[in-house]
């Protein structure tokens, strides 16, 4: 099934050893455990009952509602009813997030511009584990997966979050949170298939180990068809398959200690077709499927120290490996994070933390792509402190803090932020923020040589990394307003003005190299509206506008990056989703997305429409049929650089979900 089988043995031994030593937190703000569907209200006194909120989401919404940043939350229900089969497709539902599928197993995802095959300004975490690849700066979306039914929520913050999250959280943070094992009791089996989605299946079993500990194990597999070549309409070589398994264990002692232990391992093949240069000067067309695999383990210990203070300690180990015709690499990341929050007095709420990350990579290149040095070890030390100052109780808050970090590429970095939160009443929130964030150069931008073409008598076309790169810098000014109108409507609008400096440029002709000679201003707005039209019909609308002005410094010699920055992101995006409950357990859900054209990629505007019909057959069984790209047979969404682009095709599949 898979091209190569590598021994996992030593990594597993190491992982277990490390687990015994370490343990661990979310760099992620800790949220109170939420009541779940099996919660027994009968054990509560009447006074306690009076404190329980009627809607499950309201508690979290309340928190989100009063967050002084451009946050948007996708719930498990959003994901289930959208009919998506993977995480990047789910992110289309977030207004302002651009998701460009450029071959059947690759996605370019970004917020507020600067999208590329590797959206380098977006930080992505799964249960507190960063999945941003330090080698290429960005996220390999084909490596990231969870059981969609086990997702608690996906929190998306647009705008910089470097103070809490560290480098590379420049334009946004995506935080995928899976459920506590306590909430995933029982078994779920899903299976299905159709056109494009050839076959997919998943199995999850959750069990109660004793009164304090719960566990779950899962396994999932998919096999997807390739896309259609833009150039000639031929079938792409980008079909893919992947097998992933994992576990999660949660132990809780009387609301004081909570220990989480979780891990995943995957092994897959992501097909692609590339054009490569050879040392002899030929350009060849290679079917260079990538073999991907990686285990990870994470442990986290949360402890409540008092009514007003808590701490968390998190440790994880993550290995990701990719093997293709042109490049083989493995990356090992060890990460240790400590966080402590405490209330100093009525005014001051502090949170501070320390972090250490150790990144070891190992590359084996070819003539076309090579790293110098081939292997590298990088260490990142970080510390942060933030104070939430209550100026007037329940009315005005000021939040100030900064992250300090030392890395091997650019040395010391600081990422401060200031936020003001005004909540005149329960139904209105107004906030403003000023933030500085940086993106440190990726290993590829520093150490890689990539030769595109070497045909005599022409000069060699290549791009080389540079050791002298500075961090890309952002100063962001944001404002936002949220309002609830009655019980049924919620509006959220944000506006931002961003100033970037030292953006990466490409200098020289022929043999080019990276530099920092571009600066830019961007501005835009994001708008979201939620409407519970009737008891069983929910409508969600989103719109975003974005303008990017990139400029070369006078000493810069090439326009390549400037054009890319300005032309890789749509000016306008619009979406409308409808979630409708029908009688007899039927659900009818439609999503409509409009994405403006991308001038640099010559990608025309497109409309994507997804439709899902679900039927709950009794308590345990759910049957659904979904069509993605209902309105056209195929369309282009983005252009990749490392592989030949294929177009997104219409997907039709049927799915069975069985719970017991």
């Amino acid at each position: 099934m898979f091209g190569r089988i590598y021994s996992l043995k030593w990594e597993l031994v190491l992982a277990v050893l490390l687990l015994l030593l370490g343990s661990g937190p979310p760099a992620v703000a800790a949220y109170d455990p939420e009541p779940n569907e099996t919660e027994d209200f009968f054990e509560l006194s009447i006074e306690e009952l009076m404190k329980v909120e009627v809607t499950i989401t309201s508690k979290k919404d309340g928190k989100m509602f009063e967050t002084p940043s451009a946050v948007y939350v996708l719930t498990r229900e959003d994901i289930r009813r959208s009919g998506v089969t993977n995480i990047p497709d789910a992110l289309r539902m977030v207004p302002g997030i651009q998701v460009g599928n450029f071959n059947a197993n690759k996605w370019a995802v970004s917020a507020r511009g600067f999208n590329s095959e590797f959206g380098d300004k977006l930080l992505v975490l799964i249960d507190g584990r960063s999945v941003y690849t330090p080698l290429f700066a960005g996220v390999y979306w084909d490596e990231q997966d969870v059981i969609l039914e086990d997702i608690e929520r996906i929190e998306v913050v647009k705008g910089p979050g470097g103070t809490l999250w560290g480098s590379n959280a420049v334009n946004g943070i995506i935080n995928i949170v899976t459920m506590d094992a306590k909430k995933t009791q029982g078994t779920i089996i899903t299976g299905g298939g159709g056109i494009e989605e050839r076959a997919f299946t998943s199995f999850r079993h959750g069990l109660k180990l004793n009164d304090k500990s719960y566990g779950r194990i899962y396994s999932k597999y998919y096999n997807r068809d390739g896309g259609i070549y833009t150039a000639n309409g031929g079938v792409g070589a980008d079909d893919s398959e992947k097998l992933q398994s994992g576990f999660r264990f949660d132990w809780e002692e009387s609301d004081i200690d909570h220990i989480t232990l979780q891990g995943d391992a995957y092994h897959g093949r992501s097909g692609r077709n590339s054009t490569e240069a050879t040392a002899a000067g030929n350009i060849t067309n290679k079917d260079d499927s990538e073999n991907i695999r990686g285990p990870n383990v994470l442990s986290r210990w949360n402890r409540k120290l008092s009514e007003t203070s808590d701490m968390s300690l998190q440790f994880y180990y993550d290995r990701s490996a990719r093997y293709s015709f042109v490049l083989e690499h493995t990356i090992d990341i060890f990460d240790l994070d400590f966080q402590h929050r405490f209330k100093l007095n009525q005014q001051h709420n502090f949170v501070w933390g320390l972090g250490y990350r150790d990144i070891r990579d190992n590359t084996s290149g070819t003539f076309a792509i090579n790293f110098f040095p081939q292997d590298r070890l990088d260490k990142i030390f970080s510390a942060f402190v933030q104070d939430e100052i209550t100026i007037t109780e329940n009315l005005l808050k000021f939040i100030i803090g900064s992250k300090f970090e030392r890395n091997n590429y650019t040395g010391y970095e600081y990422q401060p932020s200031m936020r003001l939160l005004w909540t005149p009443n329960k139904n209105n929130t107004i906030w403003a923020a000023f933030t500085r964030a940086v993106q440190i150069p990726a290993r590829s931008q520093s150490d890689m040589v990539n030769i595109f073409s070497n045909i005599p008598p022409f000069v060699q076309l290549s791009i080389s990394g540079s050791d002298d790169l500075q961090s890309q810098e952002l100063k962001a000014y944001e404002i936002g307003y949220r309002t609830k109108v009655g019980d049924r409507m919620l509006f959220d609008i944000t506006a931002f003005y961003n100033e970037y400096d030292h953006l990466f440029s490409i200098e020289g002709s022929g043999a080019t190299t990276f530099d920092n000679k571009i600066y830019a201003e961007t501005y835009g707005t994001e708008f979201a509206a939620h409407l519970q039209a009737t008891r069983n019909w929910k409508l969600i609308a989103g719109y975003s506008f974005l303008q990017i002005q990139a400029h070369r410094k006078s000493s810069s010699t090439s326009m390549a990056k400037e054009v890319e920055y300005e032309g890789n992101s749509p000016h306008n995006m619009f979406q409308l989703r409808s979630l409708l409950d029908l009688p007899c357990g039927l659900e009818f859900d439609t999503s409509f997305y409009y994405v403006d054209n991308l001038p640099n990629n010559q990608v025309p505007q497109y409309i994507r429409m997804d439709v899902r019909l679900g039927w709950k057959v009794g308590d345990n069984l759910e049957v659904s049929v979904a069509v993605q790209n209902l309105l056209d047979r195929e369309h282009r969404e983005f252009m990749g650089t490392s592989s030949n682009t294929t177009e997104s095709q219409r997907v039709i599949y049927a799915k069975l979900t069985w719970r017991f």
């Binding site: 009968f42 329980v52 809607t55 009737t534 008891r535 409950d581």
Partner: protein
């Protein structure tokens, strides 16, 4: 260019059509349920169960040895499952059981006296009667009137429920379940309400 204006226009029509269809079917289906609503009823079920602890029924109404305390749910629609946890609970040393009363709204007491009496007799056996979804106000008020003096704690969740003779009314305030009490009608029902419980009510009619 693949997407000519005309095509875009047509697609928007398709979308509009689907939305209109959705709207129409939604209006047709507006009586069905959602997960959030079911949570609300699970909370209310726990409230009903708790009420037993704070209410003293007259001696003759209290069940004998093995007999259960009966909670009746009127017009539960799809929410009856939310009340399931009540079953087999024990309070004051008595088992609690659940009874479902549907389709009361279709009865007309003038037309079918005997059937009406029959139903009312069944309702009188309850210790607590919760009016879940009762569309027909007139019939509801008639039931409350007919049950008056028979020590059935009537609980509702509608504006004006207390004014029309009910004993306790659920109110949703800031996403939380609260309640108000009509002490006058409770006394008529010979129900003794503990003072600690009265203090929790957001409104008490005396």
């Amino acid at each position: 260019m693949k997407l000519k204006n005309l095509i875009v226009k047509n697609k928007v029509y398709i979308l509009l059509l689907i939305l209109i269809l959705a709207a129409v079917s939604s209006v047709i289906a507006d009586t069905k349920t959602g997960a959030a609503a079911s949570r609300e009823y699970r909370i209310k079920a726990a409230f009903l169960y708790n009420f037993i602890k704070f209410i003293d029924w007259p001696q003759e109404k209290m069940p004998d040895n093995d007999e259960p305390i009966i909670i009746g749910i009127v017009e539960s629609e799809d929410f009856i499952k939310a009340f399931d946890p009540i079953k087999n609970k024990k309070v004051k040393g008595k088992k609690v059981i659940l009874r479902k009363f549907d389709k009361l709204g279709e009865m007309d007491e003038n037309k079918d006296q005997s059937q009406w009496r029959h139903k009312i007799a069944a309702l009188k056996e309850c210790h607590i009667l919760f009016f879940c979804h009762f569309a027909n106000k007139k019939t509801q008020n008639q039931i409350i009137k007919d049950l008056s003096g028979f020590s059935v704690l009537t609980v509702g969740q509608a504006d004006g429920f207390l004014e029309s003779g009910g004993n306790i009314n659920f109110i949703k305030e800031r996403q939380k379940v609260r309640f108000e009490i009509n002490l006058k009608t409770s006394k008529q029902n010979e129900l003794k309400i503990k003072s600690r419980f009265l203090k929790l009510a957001i409104r008490v009619i005396k």
